[in-house]
C-alpha cells in the first residue's frame, strides 16, 4: 500500500502548518509539518535510549564504584579486557545462548503447530482458541515465572508428585538445585509465555499464502508434507524470519524469569542478569556499564547476522517499496 494516498491541490496541507504563503512551497511545508508531528516521538525515543547508551559507553571507560566515587579513574578499555578474560562473562554468555537457542527452536515448531491448528480448526472453536492463546501473552513474565517456579519447587509444587513415574524424578527432586534442571524450568516458562506471540505472527504469515497455490498443488496430487514444504513454508519465509528475529532478540535479553526463579544461582546467570548484578547490586558502574555495552553489541550483532544471513528485508515485509 502506498504511504501517501492523497495530495491533491485542494488539501495539500491537511493541518495549518507554518505557512510560507506560496503554493510552490507546499512540499517544503509538508516536510516541516511531517517533522513537527513525528519529531516529538522521535526525540523522546532518542533521549530515552541513545543518550543512556552513549553514557554507558562513557562510564565503561572508568573504574567507578558508587560506594567509592572519589576513586573514580579513567582506565580506557580495561573494563572490557577484564570482562572478556573473566570466566563469568563466558558462562553467562553460554547460558544466554543456550536459553535463546532452545526456546526459539521449540517455540518455532510449537508456534507453527498452534498456528496450523488455529487456521484449520472449526469456526466454532476459533474465537475460543484465539482468546486462550492470548492469555499467556497477557500474563506478566514475573507471574509466569512464579507459577512455573512454584509448580516445580519442593515446598509448594505438584510436579514431583505428578511425574514421579519418570525415571529420575522422585518426591525429593530439587529442580532448582542444579544448572541444567534450573535452565530446563526457565526455558519451559519462557516457552509457555512467548510461543503465542510467535504463533500469531506465523498465523498472519499463513494467511498470506495464496489459496490458489495450495489448491493447485492439491490437484497435482501433492501430499500434505509436500504442500507444506514446497508451497506453504517458502511462501511465508518472510513471516518466519521476522518472527525468528524478534524472538531471538527477545530471548537473548532474558532477565525476569532468571531473576525470579534462580537469581543467577547454580551458574544460571544470563547476560542481562550479569549487567544488573554488576550495576544495581554491586554498584560497580564502570564494569556494569561495560557489560551493558557488550550486551548491546551482542544484540546488534545478532540483528546484523539475521538480516545479512537470512536476507530478511524488513521494508519488503512492511509492504514498502
Amino acid at each position: 500500500m502506498s504511504t501517501t494516498t492523497v495530495r491533491t491541490e485542494e488539501t495539500a496541507a491537511p493541518a495549518p502548518g507554518p505557512k510560507k504563503g506560496r503554493m510552490s512551497d507546499r512540499s517544503k511545508a509538508e516536510q516541516k509539518l511531517g517533522w513537527m508531528l513525528a519529531g516529538p516521538a522521535f526525540v523522546v525515543m532518542l533521549l530515552v535510549t541513545a543518550y543512556p547508551i552513549l553514557q554507558a559507553v562513557y562510564y565503561s571507560l572508568f573504574d567507578y564504584r558508587l560506594t567509592d566515587p572519589a576513586k573514580r579513574s579513567f582506565v580506557g578499555l580495561n573494563n572490557y579486557l577484564v570482562i572478556l578474560t573473566d570466566e563469568i562473562w563466558w558462562t553467562s554468555f553460554g547460558v544466554t545462548a543456550f536459553i535463546t537457542i532452545v526456546t526459539v527452536a521449540v517455540e518455532l515448531v510449537l508456534g507453527f503447530a498452534l498456528a496450523l491448528v488455529m487456521v484449520k480448526a472449526l469456526k466454532a472453536i476459533r474465537p475460543i482458541l484465539r482468546a486462550a492463546i492470548l492469555i499467556p501473552y497477557a500474563v506478566i513474565t514475573v507471574v509466569s515465572a512464579f507459577a512455573w517456579q512454584y509448580a516445580f519447587s519442593l515446598d509448594s509444587g505438584f510436579v514431583n508428585s505428578w511425574f514421579d513415574w519418570i525415571p529420575g524424578v522422585t518426591a525429593e527432586t530439587d529442580w532448582f538445585g542444579g544448572t541444567f534442571s534450573s535452565l530446563f524450568v526457565i526455558c519451559l516458562a519462557e516457552i509457555w509465555k512467548t510461543t503465542p506471540f510467535i504463533s500469531l505472527l506465523l498465523l498472519a504469515g499463513l494467511a498470506q499464502v495464496p489459496e490458489v497455490l495450495q489448491e493447485a498443488a492439491k490437484v497435482d496430487g501433492a501430499s500434505w508434507w509436500q504442500r507444506m514444504s514446497k508451497v506453504t513454508i517458502p511462501n511465508m519465509k518472510a513471516a518466519i524470519m521476522v518472527a525468528l528475529l524478534f524472538r531471538t532478540l527477545d530471548a537473548f535479553r532474558v532477565f525476569d524469569s532468571v531473576f525470579v526463579m534462580t537469581a543467577g544461582a547454580n551458574s544460571t546467570e544470563t547476560l542481562s542478569f550479569l549487567a544488573y548484578r554488576q550495576t544495581i547490586s554491586r554498584v560497580e558502574i564502570g564494569l556494569g556499564s561495560a557489560v551493558s555495552v557488550m550486551l548491546f553489541i551482542s544484540v546488534v550483532l545478532i540483528c546484523v547476522l539475521f538480516i545479512k544471513g537470512f536476507k530478511v528485508d524488513l521494508s519488503a515485509q512492511r509492504g514498502e517499496k
Binding site: 500500500m1 509538508e30 491448528v117 484465539r130 482468546a131
Partner: protein, 277 residues
C-alpha cells in the same frame, strides 16, 4: 468434514486451551491454598481459603502490595497515554505526509525496540540518582516510553495506512469543512486503531520488570512486578508462596479482562504492527 476429523480438531483445540490456561489455573489454585495446604504436593487445594488474599489486601503484606498496585496503575496509564499521543501524531505524519526521514523514524523505532532494557538501565540508574528522578513516578514513566513508543508507532502507522484518506475529501466535496471532515470521517476510522495500540502499550508497560526493579527502592514508585520479585527474598525463613500467588492473580486480572474483551483487535494490532507495520 467428517465427524472423525471434527473430533480431531476439537481435541487439538482442547489441547491448546489446556496449554494456555494450565499455569494460570495453577497459580489461582495455589493462591487459594491455606498455609498448611501449600506443601500438599497436589494441584488443587484441599480446602478453598481466602487467607492469602486477605493477607495482601488488608493484612501484613498490604503495606507492600497496595502502594505497588497504585504505582503500577498510575505509572502505566500515564506512560500509555503519553506514548499514544506522541505515536498518534507520528503515525499520522508517516501515513499521510510525504517527508524525508520517514524511514529513519521507522527504523529507529525498530532499533529502540530491540534495545536490551538492561543496557539502558545502567546509565539511567546513575543519571536518575544525580537529578533526583530515582524512585519517582516520572523516573519510571520516561523509561517506559522506550518500551511503549516503538510498538505504538509501528502498530498505529499500520492502522493509519489502511484508512481510506480519500473519504475526507469526498466529505469536503459534499460541503463539510476541513475540520468537520476530519472529525466525522477520519477520527471514527482511526479510533479503533488508537484504542488497540493503547491496550498493547498498556500490556507491555504492565509487564515491565527490569526498570521497575532497578530504578526504584521504596514503595514510592515500585510497581507490582518488581514488588513481587523482591517480596520473595523478604524473608529467608518462611516462603511467602501463597501471598505472592494471590498478588500474582490480582495483577493478572486486569490484563486477562482486557484480552477477553478485545481479543480480535489485539490480534489484528499485534500482527499488523509486526508483519505489515
Amino acid at each position: 468434514m467428517s465427524t472423525r476429523e471434527k473430533v480431531l480438531w476439537y481435541v487439538a483445540g482442547l489441547a491448546i486451551v489446556i496449554y494456555a490456561l494450565f499455569p494460570v489455573g495453577w497459580i489461582v489454585s495455589l493462591s487459594l491454598k491455606s498455609s498448611s495446604d501449600i506443601a500438599n504436593g497436589q494441584f488443587l487445594p484441599t480446602d478453598v481459603s481466602w487467607e492469602n488474599y486477605s493477607q495482601i489486601l488488608v493484612g501484613d503484606a498490604a503495606g507492600l502490595f497496595l502502594p505497588a498496585l497504585r504505582n503500577s496503575f498510575g505509572i502505566v496509564l500515564i506512560a500509555t497515554f503519553i506514548s499514544c499521543i506522541l505515536a498518534m501524531f507520528c503515525a499520522y505524519a508517516i501515513a499521510r505526509l510525504d517527508f524525508r526521514g520517514k524511514k529513519l523514524i521507522l527504523s529507529s523505532a525498530l532499533a529502540v525496540a530491540i534495545f536490551p532494557v538492561i543496557s539502558i538501565v545502567t546509565p539511567l540508574f546513575n543519571l536518575w540518582r544525580q537529578i533526583g528522578l530515582y524512585d519517582t513516578w516520572p523516573g519510571l514513566i520516561i523509561p517506559y516510553l522506550s518500551l511503549t513508543l516503538p510498538i505504538s508507532i509501528w502498530t498505529l502507522s499500520a492502522f493509519f495506512r489502511e484508512i481510506p484518506w480519500e473519504m475526507e475529501q469526498a466529505a469536503q466535496v459534499d460541503g463539510a469543512t476541513t475540520w468537520q471532515a476530519f472529525r466525522k470521517v477520519i477520527v471514527p476510522l482511526a479510533a479503533p486503531g488508537v484504542f488497540t495500540t493503547a491496550i498493547i502499550a498498556f500490556f507491555i508497560a504492565w509487564n515491565d520488570f527490569a526498570y521497575g526493579i532497578s530504578l526504584t527502592s521504596t514503595g514510592a514508585a515500585r510497581p507490582v512486578p518488581a514488588a513481587l520479585g523482591l517480596f520473595s527474598g523478604a524473608s529467608q525463613f518462611e516462603s511467602p508462596n501463597g501471598p505472592i500467588a494471590a498478588a500474582a492473580v490480582i495483577v493478572t486480572i486486569p490484563v486477562v479482562v482486557l484480552v477477553l474483551l478485545f481479543q480480535r483487535r489485539i490480534v489484528a494490532g499485534l500482527t499488523n504492527g509486526a508483519v505489515k507495520g
